[in-house]
Symmetry: C2
Subunit: 250 residues, 2 copies
């Protein structure tokens, strides 16, 4: 058997998130079905992480095991023909047998896209936020995130993770075309964390909270202190990084 | 009465083009209905030009007459609430009484977007063209367009226009992100012209035609010499320019 990493992107609008669900179609299910059809054996994949319903991925990574493939790139074409328009496979790479899409991921990067004008071309691919936003203040607050590690305030209650510690290495807003984009990178993220951070930063942007108020929210370590979660459609997983030694040269 | 220019964008995927049709919903019809509802009188608009079914506009201009508006920008918000997600009004500007959205347009600019990889986020917003394309050769051919004025070879047969002469001032391919974009500007365009040009340039890109062959197509002045039209979903009207003296300062 050989282990492979599969790199792909998806538009999450019509899916009940990444992870298999008893009631609702997930990206994982559709991808596993396509792999199983093309490889003619049941294939299970392990993803780098979860994305919630409606959240997108410009780059998502998962691993699976199968008999060694003669031409992994031919598999990419077959999968893309079989998969619906909203899931696109980019690459399939052989990795070491113990490489793990979730446990070996060193860093994950998300983007949150905000449009301030009605835009027919960004349907379900950006949050439409009306009213003036003070992006300078939002950036001042975002920078403060990197001074902390416990993000209980931005986590979902009652999840089963052992620690709420994350090391955030990047956090800023920048203008891209007609949109504002929040870029955040960390070694790990708690469930709902990016959307809770963005929702709270939007309150800073509306001057309903000042930068010190934002810092106080972090320090409270209490989910009820943060703002409402920003909607799913603006959120994109855009990168997952691994140590280079897990990739095999073939 | 006061004449206004209305500036708007639309995703053309679900429309039977810009112009009112007996059987099929057009952008013009939906826009006129929204204006008539908000202004409470029947409003007819005259567009800067036509776009075919499935073609988009990042910027389209039309004119209409109505009683002077106290706050044109408030009308923008009302129209956007009423219009579906795929039509967005950007501005409403008072113009001189004889200003005409079609006859006064000095230049129109189109973009044609090509993606060479399956992309979940460009559904209906770029043509997915497989296989290697020689963009250097396509650019060499595109530049030759500016040496000619009669584009009969790239026009629809049996249209009622008096002349097939157009002055093309811009024509090039450039890479934008993961896409290749063909940018073309001219004083006027014939029906189907951009898609016929792009379809023929793609043949140059595939080495099925060389640059001199492309020039020969132009010189033949015969529609049957050109390649197949490129699909509608890649085409965007992106700009229409007018002489500044038609805009009123208010």
């Amino acid at each position: 058997m050989q282990r492979y990493f599969i790199l792909f992107s998806y538009k999450g609008t019509t899916y009940h998130g990444w992870q298999r669900q008893p009631n609702g179609v997930s990206v994982q299910q559709v991808l596993e079905e396509a792999l199983s059809t093309v490889l003619r054996v049941p294939i299970a994949v392990v993803g780098a992480g979860r994305t919630d319903a409606g959240v997108h991925a410009r780059l998502m990574v998962a691993h699976f095991d199968t008999e060694p493939l003669v031409e992994p790139m031919r598999l990419v074409g077959k999968l893309n023909s079989l998969l619906p328009y909203d899931i696109a496979v980019k690459k399939i790479l052989p990795v070491t047998p113990e490489a793990h899409a979730r446990f070996d991921a060193m860093a994950r990067r998300y983007e949150y896209w905000v449009t301030q004008e009605k835009n027919p071309f960004l349907r379900d691919q950006a949050a439409y936020v009306r009213g003036t936003l003070d992006f300078e203040k939002m950036n001042q607050a975002a920078r403060r995130l990197m001074e902390y590690t416990d993000f209980t305030s931005f986590s979902k209650l009652h999840t089963d993770v052992k620690t709420n510690n994350c090391k955030i290495t990047t956090a800023y807003w920048e203008k891209r075309g007609d949109c504002w984009v929040f870029v955040i990178e960390a070694d790990r993220f708690l469930r709902n964390m990016v959307r809770a951070i963005v929702g709270t930063l939007l309150e800073v942007g509306r001057h309903k909270m000042d930068v010190e108020g934002f810092v106080a929210v972090i320090e409270k370590k209490n989910r009820c202190a943060a703002g409402t979660s920003a909607p799913a459609e603006g959120l994109f997983l855009v990168d997952v990084r691994y140590p280079l030694d897990i990739y095999l040269n073939t």
